[in-house]
Structures are given as structure tokens and as C-alpha cells.
């Protein structure tokens, strides 16, 4: 019953392990870039051809609720999902191929303090995303 971590988590949450959930889970776990629901649908149907788009939406919602995937915001629209980082991590996206990488270690406390003083706001959380060119896309292709 060699289950992977996400399936174990789903089960711990009281979910049944179905072909649909396995397919969506595998797709999301192995994705190198953020995928839209339709992209997930297309990819997952190769593993489970009977899969419906509705189930993809529902499964993504569940995975997001469990913190296993996260939404990625692009210039136009924000309906793409990527496996979540561990702990407090942010995303770095390649502008050319879309590859997504997590990184950590932003130290923005000083910034928050200053902005808080200037604006009167109490800063609660933040959201940082970097864009650039990945190694492959920099060095030709």
C-alpha cells in the first residue's frame, strides 16, 4: 500500500483514495510549473481517462485546503496551482518556461516595521514573488 505523503494526508483528513485523487495528486506532485485546472485535467486524464473536470476542481480545492498546493498569481489571472513550499517559502518563476522554484529566507522585518510606522497599518502577512530567467532559459535552450 505504498502511499505517498499527500495520499496519506488526504486519508488522514478522512478522504477516500480514489483513482481520480491519485491521478490529480501525481500530476501536481511532479509538476515543474504552475498548472491551471484544465491543464491538470488534461495531464491527469492520461492516467485516469474517465476523470472529469469537476473532480479536478474539487480535488485541487481539497489539496489547497490541506496546504499541499498553492495558488500562483500571474500577470493575467491567478488560477494556476503549484505544490506548496515547506514552511515560509516564496516562489521564483521563470518568465520564459514557467518553471517554478521555491526559496526561503527573506528578511523583511525591517521593511515591515518602517512601513507600519509610515502608514499606521499593523502588518500581518506578506506576499512576495520573484520573476526571472532560469538557468536553462538563460544559456540558450
Amino acid at each position: 500500500m505504498a502511499e505517498n505523503l499527500w495520499l496519506t494526508q488526504l486519508r488522514a483528513d478522512g478522504c477516500r483514495l480514489t483513482a481520480a485523487r491519485r491521478a490529480v495528486t501525481e500530476v501536481m506532485q511532479s509538476a515543474e510549473r504552475a498548472l491551471t485546472p484544465v491543464e491538470v485535467y488534461d495531464a491527469a486524464r492520461k492516467r485516469d481517462p474517465r476523470l472529469g473536470l469537476v473532480t479536478v476542481y474539487r480535488t485541487l480545492e481539497k489539496l489547497e485546503a490541506l496546504g499541499l498546493i498553492q495558488r500562483v498569481h500571474h500577470e493575467q489571472g491567478c488560477q494556476a496551482f503549484l505544490r506548496a513550499g515547506v514552511g515560509h517559502q516564496h516562489i521564483l518563476l521563470c518568465e520564459r518556461c514557467g518553471r517554478a522554484v521555491h526559496f526561503e529566507g527573506d528578511d523583511l522585518e525591517a521593511l515591515f516595521e518602517r512601513v507600519g510606522e509610515q502608514t499606521g497599518f499593523e502588518i500581518k502577512s506578506h506576499w512576495l514573488q520573484l520573476y526571472g530567467l532560469c538557468q536553462d532559459c538563460r544559456t540558450g535552450f
Copy 2:
């Protein structure tokens, strides 16, 4: 012909100044928080009751292209617009009332350098948004 800056910019871009554009412009210029196209539509119709939603979409698109408004990304969905900041500014949003404030002066160069080294990416741009509670929402209401 006391035109304000946005209308002057629109005209400079070759646009005609219509009631629809005046209405949408006024709404966006005075908005304290990010508004969705439908919210803009509702507010702008108080100034120009004949305004259609399609025109709101088109006008927002134009204003965004001119850099006068910008998209604001929320947890769920990213179809809200706010007047743009001047120069390199970021947004700080109140989690409770939605009020949006611009701030500047993030110094993230050191972070970019380190992340670039670690990941092999060439960092091109970044995107930062802060969330918190504004003064009013902190001190009761």
C-alpha cells in the same frame, strides 16, 4: 475644459473623452480600495446611467495599458483594479476594510542576489504585497 491628469493622458493617447470614460476615470481616481469591474460599473453608473459593463472592461483595459491603474491580487481571484502607484511602489492592503495604500522603499537587492546564486535564476522583477490592519480597523471602528 478643466481636465484632470488621467483625461489628459487618455487624450494624449488619441482617445476621445466620453461620458463613459469620465465616469470610470472618476470612480477609479477616487477609490480607496481595489474595485472589480462590476463594482466600477455600479459606481460609475451613478454618474452615467447609460454606461454599459462592456465599456467598463474596455476602459479599465485602456487605463491599465497607460499605467494609470493596476491589478490587485487577492487570495481568491485577481480581477480588482486600483489606481497605480508612482514609480516603484508596492501595495499594502487592509484585511478588514480593503483599503489600499502604496508604499515604496523596499531594498531587496541583497535577497535577489542570494536567491539568484542559489537557484541559477537571473532575477528580473518582483512582486510584493503586504497585508494588515489599517489604523481605523485597528482602533475599533
